[in-house]
């Protein structure tokens, strides 16, 4: 069936000629049009990361406003209406516009490189997912800017977010922003699953997949299984609000707690969707900076999968005080505590790796050490809130605020910052500053602990979450002032981080292909990689294909250079199956994203938007998939 033997092959091509031809076929044209129509996973991944960090900065500004208001009792700096918008925006923004997208964004950039392929699977879907994500973020922030930001909390409990108590379109904007980000997250999850399953370099069997790729694979499955729940929930909410369905109306057979079940069936796995990629980053950084592979590869993979499975059996621990039967709750106590086993296993394996390795204390590794210190606290307070009686006292207090910041900032943002320092040379071709990096780590580590540790105490002292102020007679003002001042240190650390990142991207010292002596495939190509990633696809015969004793990287030849071509391989053994075309640049994903945006925003106002808005969407999708007669469209 190989009737097309006529394509131009790379087999006997010289390096420079190969480079010229591959560049011609894979590169993104310059200019606005090229930027809008590119499907290069590296360009889109960088865009995604940058956008997510912009949202991080905006969310950080909101948190400073919160701290300003809470620095003293009965402060009048921000009124309750604006304050409720601010904390809702902070949570929503950090979870849906920063944490999940940034982890997926790192994967969009890194996974194809780490598995040794030339582009992500479904690259046009990838472009589409970015535009949809951007539109969702703009919707939320523009709404907030015009004083129509959601004010119902990031978990938008009904009936407060429901039709009767959530006046106006604020809650609808929240719910529809969810749809935007979920569509984009689901799309990316599918791309990553298929990339990992089908596009691994020849020989990269399941037991040779880098741990970061494993973590993203498990994360993507979590996204696929968990996010439909929030889509069902937010759609039901919009229907209740717009056309008068009764999902959450107890007077007509609906149920208020149904919302909480649906939300947390998504919401708890969400935590692991954010945390598991960080686990992969930590494993990668630990391996590189201890100069040895991570101890217990199989155990680490099993722990990832076990965490992913257990993640779906924990959601009720967010509802311990909602009045569910106590016996059922005890089951969820047990399952919530059980997740400490795989988490513990990972911690112990990293410790063992450090024990047996030769640590090099570079900035990425410092962030990993900071992660260990902070995340263990977050994990232990997680065990605490898993206990029903314990939780009845700390649920919805600042203890929980402290807990999840220890888990999410300690467990995910610290590894992420480490990962940015680690992969920055690959992303940009330039190194970040090691000196500044140490300062930044010091400021963020100190600022973080001083800011969030006292919140545990405030919670036990009875300070609830989400209050816009507190009365002077409560014994909380001292610690609150202390926290607000400490937040300045933390903010300074992040400010310096942004300064360093921007400065280094423009004028950092030039990076070699493999500045850290790392052993995964993304370091086998130049920094930054060429548009085609690898001139010849690498062949893998071990877990760490760039280990020190390798003299020349084994590669494969025989791919065409007159169309975008990559290799598909079998799921288990990664033995080559076909030379596959990878779609070229296209503007249609952007049009499809704009059509989706039109339909989704319109449907906040009218149910008919789903009918009429689907027409332009269908047109753009047909335009997207209709063959254009280019070599990539044919086989």
């Amino acid at each position: 069936m190989t009737q097309d033997g006529d394509g131009l092959r790379d087999s006997s091509m010289e390096g420079s000629e190969l480079h010229r031809r591959l560049t011609a076929i894979w590169s993104t044209p310059s200019g606005l049009w090229g930027a809008l129509s590119t499907v290069d996973h590296k360009i889109i991944g960088r865009r995604y990361v940058t956008t997510a960090f912009v949202f991080l900065a905006l969310g950080g500004v909101l948190s400073l406003l919160i701290r300003l208001q809470l620095a003293q009792p009965e402060a009048r700096f921000i009124g309750p209406d604006r304050y409720n918008q601010i904390f809702t925006m902070h949570g929503t923004n950090m979870m849906f516009l920063f944490a999940v997208p940034v982890m997926q964004a790192m994967a969009i950039y890194l996974v194809p490189l780490m598995v040794g392929t030339r582009n992500i699977a479904f690259p046009r879907l990838n472009a589409f997912s970015y535009w949809v994500y951007l539109a969702g973020g703009l919707l939320l922030w523009i709404a907030f800017a015009v004083d129509t930001g959601p004010d119902v909390g990031w978990f938008a409990y009904v009936p407060l977010a429901g039709p009767e108590y959530g006046a106006g379109k604020r809650a609808d904007i929240w719910a529809q922003m969810i749809t935007f980000t979920e569509v984009s997250a689901l799309a990316v999850a599918v791309e990553i699953v298929v990339t990992v399953f089908k596009q691994r370099a020849p020989g990269m069997s399941l037991d040779r997949i880098p741990l970061f790729v494993w973590s993203m694979l498990v994360t993507s499955f979590l996204v696929i299984m968990a996010m439909p729940a929030i889509m069902v929930a937010s759609s039901s909410l919009i229907l209740d609000r717009l056309v008068g369905t009764h999902f959450f109306n107890p007077a007509e057979g609906g149920d208020v707690l149904l919302w909480q079940h649906l939300f947390w069936f998504f919401g708890h796995p969400e935590v692991y969707i954010i945390f598991l990629p960080a686990v992969g980053m930590v494993s990668t950084i630990v391996a590189t900076f201890t100069r040895r592979p991570v101890f217990g590869y199989l155990g680490m993979v099993m722990a990832l999968i076990a965490t992913g499975v257990l993640a779906f059996g924990l959601w009720v621990h967010h509802m311990f005080v909602a009045g569910l039967p106590r016996l059922g709750e005890s089951f969820f106590t047990a399952s919530s505590m059980a997740i400490a086993v795989p988490a513990g296993l990972q911690i112990f394996c990293w410790l063992a790796t450090m024990w047996a390795g030769r640590p090099v204390f570079k900035t990425p590794f410092l962030f990993v050490i900071g992660f260990m210190v902070i995340f263990v606290i977050g994990g232990l307070t997680g065990v605490m809130v898993a206990s029903v009686p314990f939780d009845t006292q700390v649920h919805d207090t600042y203890f929980v605020v402290a807990h999840f910041h220890y888990v999410l900032v300690g467990g995910a943002v610290f590894p992420l910052l480490g990962a940015v320092y680690y992969w920055f040379p690959k992303f940009t071709g330039r190194m970040m500053s090691e000196t500044l990096g140490r300062w930044i780590f010091g400021l963020i580590f100190t600022g973080f602990n001083l800011t969030f540790f006292p919140m545990h105490i405030l919670g036990l002292q009875g300070m609830p979450r989400r209050i816009y102020t507190y009365q002077p007679e409560m014994p909380w003002s001292g610690l609150n002032l202390f926290i607000s001042l400490s937040a300045v240190i933390l903010a300074l650390g992040f400010l310096l981080f942004f300064v360093d990142a921007i400065r280094s991207a423009r004028s950092g010292s030039l990076a070699p292909a493999n500045p850290w002596g790392a052993r995964t495939l993304e370091w086998a190509t130049s920094s930054p990689p060429p548009p085609y990633n690898f001139a010849r696809l690498p062949v893998v015969d071990r877990l760490d294909p760039l280990s020190d004793d390798i003299e020349a990287v084994p590669v494969a030849s025989g791919l065409r250079v007159d169309r975008r071509e990559l290799l598909t391989s079998s799921v288990v053994h990664a033995s080559p199956e076909a030379r596959e075309a990878s779609p070229g640049d296209s503007i249609w994903p952007l049009w499809a994203a704009l059509a989706s945006t039109l339909m989704l925003i319109w449907s906040i106002f009218s149910p008919w938007a789903v009918v009429w808005g689907s027409i332009p969407l269908a047109i753009t999708l047909i335009g997207w998939f209709w063959p254009k007669g280019v070599p990539e469209d044919e086989a």
Binding site: S236, G253, L258, V555, E580
Partner: protein, 200 residues
């Protein structure tokens, strides 16, 4: 770092079919997403039922005629669908063209039957939670029929265009056939839930 060519891939086919193609896996992943959505809708239905004093809430059980006819029709539609799938695998363009025209027509019939299913529920979406969930379940499944119908129509046009005779197009037909089977398969538990659970 230096390269060392160890294998040559020139002999491989220029496009993978079935499990060797990415789009097959992509379709599977999207089916997993949507399947989770359907499963959740059924869970919501059963959850609301568990809370209700009687079920259906303030309504007679749905009439069986439209829904059962649709179910039988959907199950039967799998036959031509399997044939189209087989012809596409054999890359028999003429048969695939005929099959796709048949499947396009087959895709329209359920929409007509569906129009009779909504009134057969004896309730509107805004009357109570039972009405809300049955309308949403029917609506959710209808969008899937509609989506697949549009996809089939587009593919039919495509197979009559100059792009038709190409393994990649036949792969698309395979994926579309797989998706139709999925649309049928998801309907069966929904049918049992909507029409028979209220009669238990």
């Amino acid at each position: 770092m230096k390269d060392k060519v160890v294998i040559d891939l020139a002999h491989l086919p220029p496009h993978g079919l079935g499990t060797a193609s990415q789009s097959w896996w992509g379709t599977l992943a999207f089916m997993l997403i949507e399947g989770t959505g359907f499963a959740l809708a059924i869970v919501v239905y059963l959850y609301l039922m568990s809370l209700a004093p009687q079920w259906p809430l303030d309504a007679a059980p749905p009439d069986l005629v439209a829904g059962t006819t649709l179910t039988v029709f959907l199950v039967l539609s799998v036959l031509p669908n399997i044939l189209v799938n087989r012809w596409a695998r054999q890359q028999d363009l003429r048969k695939v063209r005929i099959g796709l025209i048949v499947m396009s027509l087959v895709g329209i019939v359920p929409l007509i039957l569906r129009a009779f299913e909504f009134p057969a529920m004896h309730i509107k979406w805004d009357q109570n939670a039972y009405g809300s969930i049955v309308w949403v379940m029917l609506g959710l499944h209808t969008t899937h029929i509609l989506t697949d119908l549009v996809e089939t129509l587009v593919l039919t046009c495509l197979m009559f265009s100059r792009h038709a005779d190409n393994p990649r197009r036949f792969g698309d037909v395979n994926d579309n056939a797989m998706y139709w089977n999925f649309v049928v398969a998801t309907w069966l538990p929904m049918y049992a839930c909507l029409y028979w659970v209220p009669r238990l």
